[in-house]
């Protein structure tokens, strides 16, 4: 029995074959890392330098607004940023505007604080979650205590010595936002533009390009994008975290997808499909 030509068979490739290839391309580099070198982009270096220039003992307001779906990208970023702040002797005050985020932030804080030997309510404060994203961001310009009367564990802010004299954007020389949504826009509009606070942004890879105009206009001072950005920040921080570990797998999966796209197009070209189907993308 004569076998059918390769090109039509490729076009009918079972999607389960693709799924297995993606699974292998993800799992193998994670199990056997090759530690591909990571070059640092000017945007991430700018973010790092902005934090690095803060004087020891300075306060940083950090809003970590993401949930487990995008934690693979933003959690390594947050841990690396927190460790950088701790190493510099900065005092981060952390909050979130996402209801499912506190669990993630607790993990990030525990990891970063344990690694750098920092203590809760002495070296950092976690305010917890508050609903009402935009209005909370606006409210932080007036009174943090109105928005967050207690910290995440129920301790009144007035009884936390670290919070004395710190009640609005004006008391924080730097604002950092890690977001996987339009919350980043609100921080740009309100914290950076209205209250003129220096702002550093971390975003998912697909969102990053939306914020390039704000970087060039000076409304944000640094931009960390996706797992690549997290890996770059880890490189600058001299850390090996999940950002750097994940980049090997991401590299291989990207190459696999590119190969699949090229193979798909070649197969269609060989079967004359491109000419027949000419039209929309």
């Amino acid at each position: 029995m004569a076998r059918r030509p390769l090109a039509p068979r490729l076009l009918r490739l079972d999607r389960r074959v693709i799924f297995i290839l993606v699974a292998l391309a993800t799992a193998i580099p994670l199990l056997f890392p090759v530690n591909l070198p990571i070059s640092v982009s000017p945007r991430v270096r700018a973010a790092f330098d902005t934090v690095d220039k803060q004087p020891a003992g300075g306060y940083v307001l950090m809003s970590l607004d993401y949930e487990p779906d995008i934690a693979a990208e933003l959690q390594p970023m947050s841990i690396s940023m927190l460790r950088h702040c701790f190493r510099k002797g900065l005092k981060p005050v952390i909050l979130t505007l996402y209801p499912a985020a506190p669990g993630l932030i607790e993990r990030a804080l525990n990891e970063a604080a344990d690694a750098e030997g920092k203590k809760r309510n002495e070296d950092y404060v976690f305010l917890g979650y508050k609903s009402g994203s935009q209005s909370v961001i606006l409210g932080l310009g007036e009174s943090i205590r109105t928005m967050f009367p207690t910290d995440f564990w129920g301790t009144p802010l007035d009884s936390i010595p670290m919070m004395r004299g710190h009640n609005s954007y004006a008391d924080f020389p730097l604002v950092i936002n890690m977001a996987g949504s339009r919350i980043a826009d609100y921080y740009i509009q309100i914290a950076a533009t209205r209250y003129r606070r220096p702002l550093v942004l971390g975003a998912t890879a697909v969102m990053t390009t939306d914020y390039y105009p704000y970087l060039s206009s000076g409304q944000i001072l640094g931009l960390i994008g996706g797992m690549k950005g997290a890996a770059e920040y880890e490189v600058l921080n001299n850390l090996v975290g999940n950002g750097r570990r994940g980049m090997d797998a991401q590299s291989v999966v990207h190459v696999l997808i590119v190969i699949l796209v090229i193979v798909g197009n070649l197969a269609l070209l060989l079967t004359g499909g491109l000419r027949r189907r000419g039209g929309g993308a």
Partner: protein, 205 residues
Amino acid sequence: MRNGPLLVTFFTGALLVAFFFIPHHSAQKMQSVMLDWANVVYAFALILGSITLWTVHQRKVTSRAPGWAFSVVTLSALAFMTGAGVLQGVEEGTLVNRFYNIANYHLVSTMFALLAFFIASAAFRAFRARNVEATLLLVTAIVMMIGRVSIGEYIWQGFPALTEWLLDVPNLAAKRAIAIGIGLGAVSTALKIILGIDRSYLGRS
């Protein structure tokens, strides 16, 4: 009767716009009070959302609609997590915290991770160079995908510089244009609502 909501909308919208440009303390204080009202509205929206979720799924369970068993899971999870959160709190070591770490974290991450498989399959089947525009998009996507990961530099030294140029020049120009367009559109829509020209939020066009 319909003038009431229109007047409330007009005064609230106009005041909030004015507050943005008035740095005086009294204006900021007034705005802060209005923000508290907004928080109360958000809290009620959360309650309303939970009640709606409960009602919709309860109806599915009682009528044995297709997939009703999933609704039982939803209702059980909603009741359990709400009850545990109210009774015990959400701190480390509580039931809510443990279930979040054991179940929620991994379920949500898994759901999102599955996208990678479907994107790879969809890219293979749908990403075709059928005309000049599609080819341009395809080539740019390939350059970006390779150039933005570590392996890109191994393949060709010029990939990172090329991706930076794509991001800093064509991308930035397009994003600026889109941002300005969205901004102007948002201002005109807001003005139409504040001035009562667009009344669709009242329930009728």
